[in-house]
C-alpha cells in the first residue's frame, strides 16, 4: 500500500518534471537567441566600419551597390572583358554581359550560354542595375597607411603609452603598498581623499595645470602626458591596494624577522603574488593612453609630428571627411591594437573592472 502510493507520487512528479525540463530548455534557447540578436545589433556598427574599409570608393558612390564589399561582375568573352547587368527580359530578370552599347538598344551576351551569341535588348543600358560580385579591396589600407603616416603615429602612441605606463606602475605600486601595509596616523582620511578624487571633475584642475605647463614651455612636448603619471592615480592605487590586502600579513612579518626591509618585502613577497593586479593596471593604462584624446589634443595641437593616433585620426577626419571609405579604414586601424590587447588579456581586464567598481 505504502509502496504503491510512493510510486504513484513519483510518477506524478516525474511527468511534470519532464515537461519542466523541456520548458526550461525552450526558454534557454529563446533567451540565448534573443541575446545573440541584441549583440549582433550592438556590434553592427563595427561590421559597417569593416565593410566600408574593404570597399572601393567607386562602389560607395554607386547607389545600387550592396552593403558588402563588391565590384561589378565582369564576364570575359573572346578575350575581352564585359560588365554584367541585371536585364529585365520577358522570361524574368537575367544577369547578362553588355557586349555592344547603344543609345536605345544594346547587345548582350549570356555568360551561362555564350555560344548563343549576342542578344538584343530594347532600352537604355544606363538605366540597368549592375550585377555585383563579392570582392574585397585592400587598397584603402595602404592608402591610409601612407596618408595618415601610420608608422609615425604608432611610434608616438607607443612611446607615450609605455613611458607613462612605467610611471603609473612605479608610483601606484609604491602608494598602494603604503596604504595596504603601514599604520599611519590619519591614513583613513588620506585614503578617503584619494577615493574622492575619482569623483573630481577634471576641468576644475585643468586650466591652472595647462597654464603652468604653458609657462614651463612643456606645451608642444610629451612631458604633460608623461610626468603626471609618475604621481599615482586613484583607480590604479585602489585596485592594487585591494589586491595587496589579500596577501597574508604573516608572510611580511616572517620576512621582517629575517631582517628584510620594506622595499625587500615589496619586491620579494608582495609583487610576486600580485602580478595579476599589476598586469591589469599595466593593460588598463596602455589602453587608456592609447585611447586618450583630450590631453594630447590640447598639449600637442601645434606639433602634429608628436601627436598620437587618436589625435591623428581626428585630424585625418577633418581632411578626408568626404571619403568615408578612407575614414572607416583609418578608424579600423586606430582601434585594432587596443581591441586585440583586450581580447588577449580580457581575464585580467574583467577582474580589474570588477575590483574598482564593486568594492567601494
Amino acid at each position: 500500500m505504502a509502496t504503491s502510493l510512493t510510486l504513484k507520487k513519483i510518477a506524478r512528479e516525474k511527468a511534470p518534471a519532464g515537461q519542466t525540463a523541456a520548458r526550461e530548455g525552450a526558454r534557454s534557447w529563446g533567451a540565448t537567441l534573443a541575446t545573440v540578436i541584441l549583440l549582433a545589433a550592438f556590434l553592427s556598427p563595427l561590421l559597417r566600419m569593416a565593410s566600408m574599409a574593404l570597399k572601393t570608393n567607386e562602389q560607395i558612390l554607386a547607389p545600387d551597390s550592396p552593403i558588402w564589399p563588391a565590384k561589378q561582375a565582369i564576364f570575359t568573352y573572346q578575350g575581352k572583358e564585359y560588365e554584367v547587368f541585371k536585364v529585365p527580359l520577358p522570361e524574368g530578370t537575367r544577369e547578362l554581359a553588355l557586349y555592344k552599347k547603344g543609345r536605345s538598344e544594346s547587345q548582350f551576351i549570356d555568360p551561362a550560354n555564350p555560344e548563343a551569341g549576342p542578344v538584343t535588348w530594347q532600352g537604355s543600358w544606363r538605366a540597368l542595375p549592375r550585377s555585383w560580385q563579392w570582392s574585397v579591396s585592400w587598397k584603402n589600407f595602404s592608402e591610409v597607411w601612407r596618408l595618415i603616416d601610420y608608422p609615425r603615429l604608432l611610434r608616438n602612441t607607443i612611446a607615450i603609452a609605455v613611458l607613462s605606463m612605467i610611471g603609473v606602475l612605479v608610483s601606484c605600486i609604491l602608494v598602494a603598498y603604503g596604504f595596504a601595509r603601514f599604520r599611519i596616523p590619519g591614513k583613513g582620511l588620506l585614503f578617503g581623499l584619494l577615493v574622492s578624487t575619482m569623483f573630481l571633475p577634471a576641468t576644475v584642475t585643468l586650466i591652472p595645470t595647462y597654464t603652468v605647463f604653458a609657462k614651463l614651455g612643456w606645451v608642444g612636448t610629451w612631458l604633460p602626458l608623461i610626468v603626471p603619471a609618475f604621481f599615482a592615480n586613484a583607480y590604479d592605487v585602489f585596485l592594487l591596494r585591494q589586491y595587496f590586502m589579500t596577501i597574508p600579513r604573516e608572510m611580511d612579518e616572517a620576512a621582517m624577522m629575517d631582517g628584510a626591509g620594506p622595499f625587500r618585502i615589496l619586491r620579494s613577497i608582495i609583487l610576486p603574488q600580485s602580478w595579476p593586479a599589476v598586469v591589469a593596471v599595466a593593460i588598463f593604462h596602455l589602453v587608456y593612453a592609447w585611447n586618450d584624446y583630450f590631453s594630447p589634443l590640447i598639449y600637442l595641437s601645434t606639433r602634429p609630428d608628436l601627436q598620437p593616433i587618436a589625435v591623428g585620426l581626428s585630424r585625418f577626419n577633418g581632411i578626408h571627411y568626404t571619403n568615408p571609405a578612407l575614414i572607416q579604414t583609418a578608424t579600423l586601424m586606430t582601434m585594432v591594437i587596443p581591441v586585440l590587447i583586450f581580447f588577449f588579456t580580457q581575464r585580467f581586464f574583467m577582474q580589474g573592472v570588477v575590483v574598482t567598481g564593486v568594492e567601494k
Binding site: V175, R183, K187, T203, N317, G357
Partner: protein, 313 residues
C-alpha cells in the same frame, strides 16, 4: 595649530610605530606630492584665477579685477543656454545609462542565457574602442542616407527616417545611442554585483510569495544599491564633463543649431581657443560648485536608500 597637533601625534607614537608611519608616508609620497601639485593647488588656483585677467593671448599686465569675471558670467547668455543643454541631456543620459547596463547585466545573469562569459566579453568590447574611433563609426552608422540604422528603418517601412546627426530634435537621442556603446564597464560591475547577491535571499523572497518584480524591488535593487550609487555619482560627473563627442563630431561648433554647445564645450572654447584662462576658470568653478552640490545632496540622501551589507554606517 593643527600642524602642531599632527606633529604631537607623531611624537607621541612609540619609536617603532613612528618608524612605520614614516616609512608609510615615504611610500605615499608620490601620491601626496601629486595630490598637492595636480589636484589641490590647481583647484585653489582655479578659484584664484577667477579674480584675475589671465589670458595667454595678450600681454596685459596681470592684476586682480575683483568680481569682473563673475559679472561677465552672469550676463553671458551662452553660459546659461549651455547649462540648460547639459541639464536636459543629463536627464536623458542618467536614467538610460543606469538602467540599460543593469538590464543587460540581469539578462546575462539569468540562468536561461548560455555562455554568459562570451556575451559579457563582447558587450564590453566597444568600451575599449578609442573615443574618436567610436564617434566616427557612429557618425557613419547614423548617416541619414547611407547609415545602416536608416537603411534598416527604411527596410522596416519607415519612409522618412530621422536625420540623426543634423536635426536638433534627434541629436540628443543620437548622442545617447553613442554613449550606450560604452556601457560595458558599468554592465560588468553590475553583473559582478548581481552575482554577489546571496541566493538564499531569493529563496526567502519566493517563500514569502514574491514574484519577479517583488524580488527585484525587495532583494536585487537593495543589495546592489552601492553599485547603482557609484554609477550614479560617476554618471553625474560625466554629464557635466560631457563634450568630447560633439567636439569630434563638429569640431566644437555646437552644430546642429547650437544644440551641442554643452557647458564643458563652451568652457573648452573659452580657455583653449580663446586662451582666456580667467574666464574659463570662472566657468569651471561654476560647474564644480554645481557638481559638488548635487553629489553632496545625493551623498546625504544615500543613507536612506543605499544598503551596505555587513557594515554599520
Amino acid at each position: 595649530m593643527r600642524a602642531r597637533r599632527r606633529r604631537l601625534v607623531f611624537r607621541r607614537l612609540p619609536p617603532l610605530a613612528r618608524r612605520e608611519a614614516l616609512w608609510g608616508l615615504a611610500f605615499l609620497s608620490p601620491w601626496l606630492i601629486g595630490f598637492l601639485a595636480f589636484t589641490l593647488v590647481p583647484m585653489l588656483a582655479t578659484f584664484g584665477f577667477t579674480f584675475t585677467n589671465i589670458n595667454l593671448n595678450q600681454n596685459e599686465p596681470l592684476h586682480f579685477i575683483g568680481l569682473e569675471n563673475y559679472r561677465t558670467l552672469a550676463g553671458d547668455s551662452q553660459v546659461w543656454t549651455s547649462l540648460g543643454i547639459t541639464l536636459k541631456f543629463g536627464l536623458l543620459f542618467l536614467p538610460v545609462t543606469l538602467i540599460i547596463p543593469l538590464a543587460l547585466a540581469m539578462l546575462l545573469n539569468s540562468r536561461y542565457v548560455r555562455i554568459p562569459g562570451f556575451f559579457r566579453t563582447l558587450f564590453y568590447m566597444p568600451y575599449i574602442v578609442p573615443l574618436v574611433a567610436s564617434v566616427l563609426i557612429w557618425n557613419g552608422y547614423l548617416n541619414a542616407e547611407t547609415g545602416w540604422l536608416n537603411e534598416a528603418l527604411r527596410f522596416l517601412g519607415v519612409s522618412n527616417p530621422p536625420n540623426w546627426m543634423n536635426d536638433t530634435r534627434w541629436i540628443y537621442n543620437s548622442l545617447i545611442i553613442i554613449a550606450l556603446w560604452g556601457i560595458g564597464s558599468s554592465m560588468v560591475v553590475n553583473l559582478a554585483s548581481l552575482q554577489g547577491v546571496p541566493t538564499e535571499l531569493y529563496d526567502a523572497a519566493k517563500v514569502d510569495g514574491a514574484g519577479w518584480w517583488g524580488s527585484l524591488a525587495n532583494v536585487t535593487l537593495p543589495m546592489i544599491s552601492p553599485v547603482i550609487f557609484y554609477n550614479l555619482m560617476i554618471g553625474i560627473v560625466a554629464v557635466f564633463q560631457y563634450f568630447l563627442v560633439p567636439l569630434v563630431l563638429n569640431e566644437g561648433t555646437g552644430e546642429p543649431g547650437g544644440a551641442t554647445m554643452f557647458s564643458n564645450l563652451y568652457l573648452y572654447k573659452t580657455f583653449f581657443t580663446f586662451q582666456d584662462m580667467s574666464y574659463g576658470a570662472t566657468q569651471a568653478w561654476l560647474l564644480f560648485v554645481i557638481i559638488l552640490a548635487i553629489t553632496l545632496v545625493l551623498f546625504k540622501t544615500s543613507k536612506h536608500w543605499v544598503y551596505y551589507a555587513g557594515e554599520t554606517r
